[in-house]
Amino acid sequence: MFGSKISDTTTLILFVIVVALIPLLAAPLGAGYPALMQFFAIFGILAIGFNILFGLTGYLSFGHAAFLGVGSYSAVWMFKLLSMNVIPALILSILIAGVFALIIGFVSLRRSGIYFSILTLAFAQMSYKLAYSVLTPITNGETGLQLALDDPRILDSARTSGQLPTPNLFGLDMNATRVVDVLGLEVQLNFGYFFSAAFLVLAFWIAMRIFRSPFGLMLKAVKTNQNRLNYTGVNTRPYTLAAFVISGMYAGLAGGLLACMDPLAGAERMVWTASGEIVLMTILGGAGTLLGPIIGATVIKFAEAKLSKFNEGVVHGWFDFLPDGLADVLTWVVAKFVGDGWHLTLGLVFMLVVTFLPGGLVEGARRIGGYLGRRGQKEDLEQLGSNVQGGKTTAAE
């Protein structure tokens, strides 16, 4: 933690550069389209926020998707009632999610360990179940809350066309995309992505500050020994509650952004598997590290978007150069893992990563880096990973 090789400022600058270059970097992978890049940024925010709670305090919330959903609903309602400008929508998303987190956190944090997890799970499931059924007047149930032509939108001038308006930032549409050609590569520069990415950078920076702050240190202390902390004069509840609310607000922001990019809020956003996905993203990337959760979120969203699209036709295309019989066999095998079999791949990835890279992708990369380059590289990665355990340095001679 002290005397690290790469300073936080450098990390932040590198991070901004990578985020800004995503449209270019993702394009060759077929991931350079607005919807997916927006997901990278937004789920990155979500995972960072989750990690503030889980990575630092060790409290494993299984209901974070509820805040995401609440944020989305708030934003869409703001679009429907007030204005298509995203600013009021995002403010309301964050606020409402914060209030929800305050209430749920206040109750759930009375318990720890698995009991806490189940309490958050129960609250989220109740939200989901009700949103899907009896709260349909507010949530539009199964279909999800959508914009309609006859919404009041009191701040926006009377509607002019028979088309639905798009969420915008003072007139700049979120779905505005400019396609540029970079050395023959079609790169889509989407305003919505850069808008979300700005929030991602902000979210990352705040998280970094929290990790490095006395507040963050207290949260880490909660994780290791809550008891000792109590006898050290610290009332842990306000700390954990603050962490919970902050991470709930991150989720609310992410939910609001999702609605800004695509103004629909579905109830499934709150189902327990969605909460589970947040947990998986965080652990897959590396809980307690700064970058891990973002990487985890990117990997999972990428897999979800791309793997499911490789149908047998596509796969067969890959093996066209092979003799027919062999191509068929290979297609048959590979098709089990992509297209409608993409879940299988995801499951295998989870198992392999956690078995062979304990601590997640970032920790794994750190170890591999350490193994390969022993000295130099290792510390860089260590800094990027910036483990909660303060980098697990071994005994200093």
């Binding site: 318990r111 720890s112 309490l119 179940k129 998986l280 078995t355």
Partner: protein, 342 residues
């Protein structure tokens, strides 16, 4: 009045299912301390052992008709059950009783699956953080699920109870109601008694042998138990096999009630965790009590009279009860201090 009795029966029946499903989970989660998200998958595998067994029993020989064709022009297939051809009535009897007979098959299969799972994967995760256990077992659950899907598709597969157990029993008569007031399906009584027997058996095993104590001790402190000369690994493996078997049997017996499909496990996963936690971590009686409690409350919450007062209560009752119990009793109904609290 008859309705109330019926709902109590529903509650007991549901409760026995919940308790039975949760029982296997308590053994792994409450006793071995592994957050096993693949537990539902074990339940599902049990159900598919039955499906497979029934399929094998009703294996048909296929000959292509020379005269008739299908609507799309290929020759019609003529199918004949092999078992019937070979064994006649006994074959038919076997097919009819396939669910019950498959229990005998499921016990060794599920035990082996449990053992393989523990030896191959879970044992590396005993001392790892819960979050990593979740990740790996969730991955495993998905993999198992998808494997089942490649063989059986995503559709539900109907499975019937034996003819003799398919009808209704007029339970009301026993209680002095008019005939026809409180009828209840025989198979559900069978399920109830089966659950009671299995739960009782597992209880007795853990209560009257030192096995349970050793495993609990092993979870609290593996190393020390090892230093006392006990090969705790073997016992953990056995425990896992036992839990898998219990989960599988719960699935086997449930097939006539719920046509299994590959996602069956995920549907029950959250519920079984809630039952275990509400019951209190590490407490077998707690899990059973919570199973019955939630089953009965769920039945009552689904009554129209109740839903009129609180709309949507049947949607959330399980979670609501979980919240209330965990807030009033810090460690669930019968939980012990210190188990999985950090």
């Amino acid at each position: 009045m008859g309705d109330i009795v019926l709902q109590i029966l529903n509650g007991l029946d549901k409760g026995s299912a919940y308790a039975l499903i949760a029982l296997g989970l308590t053994l792994i989660f409450g006793t071995l301390g592994v957050v096993n998200f693949a537990h539902g998958a074990l339940f599902m595998l049990g159900a598919f052992v039955t499906v497979t067994f029934t399929n094998l029993l009703s294996f048909e020989s296929v000959t292509l008709s020379e005269t008739e064709t299908t609507a799309w022009g290929s020759p019609l297939e003529i199918r004949e059950p092999v078992l019937q051809a070979w064994f006649g009535d006994f074959g038919l009897w076997l097919i009819d009783y396939s669910v019950l007979v498959s229990i005998l098959v499921a016990i060794p299969i599920m035990f082996i699956i449990g053992v393989v799972m523990e030896r191959g994967l879970i044992k590396h995760f005993y001392s790892r953080p819960h979050a990593e256990q979740i990740l790996v077992t969730f991955g495993l659950a998905i993999v198992l699920q998808e494997i089942v899907r490649t063989f059986y598709g995503a559709n539900s597969i109907s499975q019937s109870a034996p003819d003799a157990l398919r009808g209704m029993m007029d339970f009301g008569v026993v209680l002095g109601f008019e005939p026809g007031m409180v009828p209840y399906p025989t198979w559900r009584f069978v399920y109830f008694f089966f659950a009671v027997v299995v739960i009782g058996g597992v209880f007795a095993f853990l209560q009257f042998t030192t096995f349970g104590m050793v495993v609990r001790a092993g979870m609290a402190d593996r190393e020390t138990v090892g230093l006392l000369g006990i090969d705790i690994d073997k016992r953990f493996t056995f425990m896992f096999g036992l839990a898998a078997t219990v989960a599988g049997l719960a699935g086997v017996m449930y097939t006539p009630i719920l046509s299994p499909n590959y996602q069956l496990g995920m549907d029950f996963l959250v519920l079984s965790f809630i039952v275990v936690v509400v019951g209190g971590m590490g407490s077998l009686p707690g899990a059973v009590a919570a199973g019955f409690l939630l089953g009965i409350l769920q039945s009552f919450a689904s009554m129209n009279e109740v839903k009129e007062i609180i709309p949507g209560i049947d949607q959330i009752i399980i979670y609501l009860v979980a919240v209330i119990i965990l807030l009033t009793r810090p460690r669930g109904l019968l939980g012990r201090a210190g188990v999985m609290e950090d």
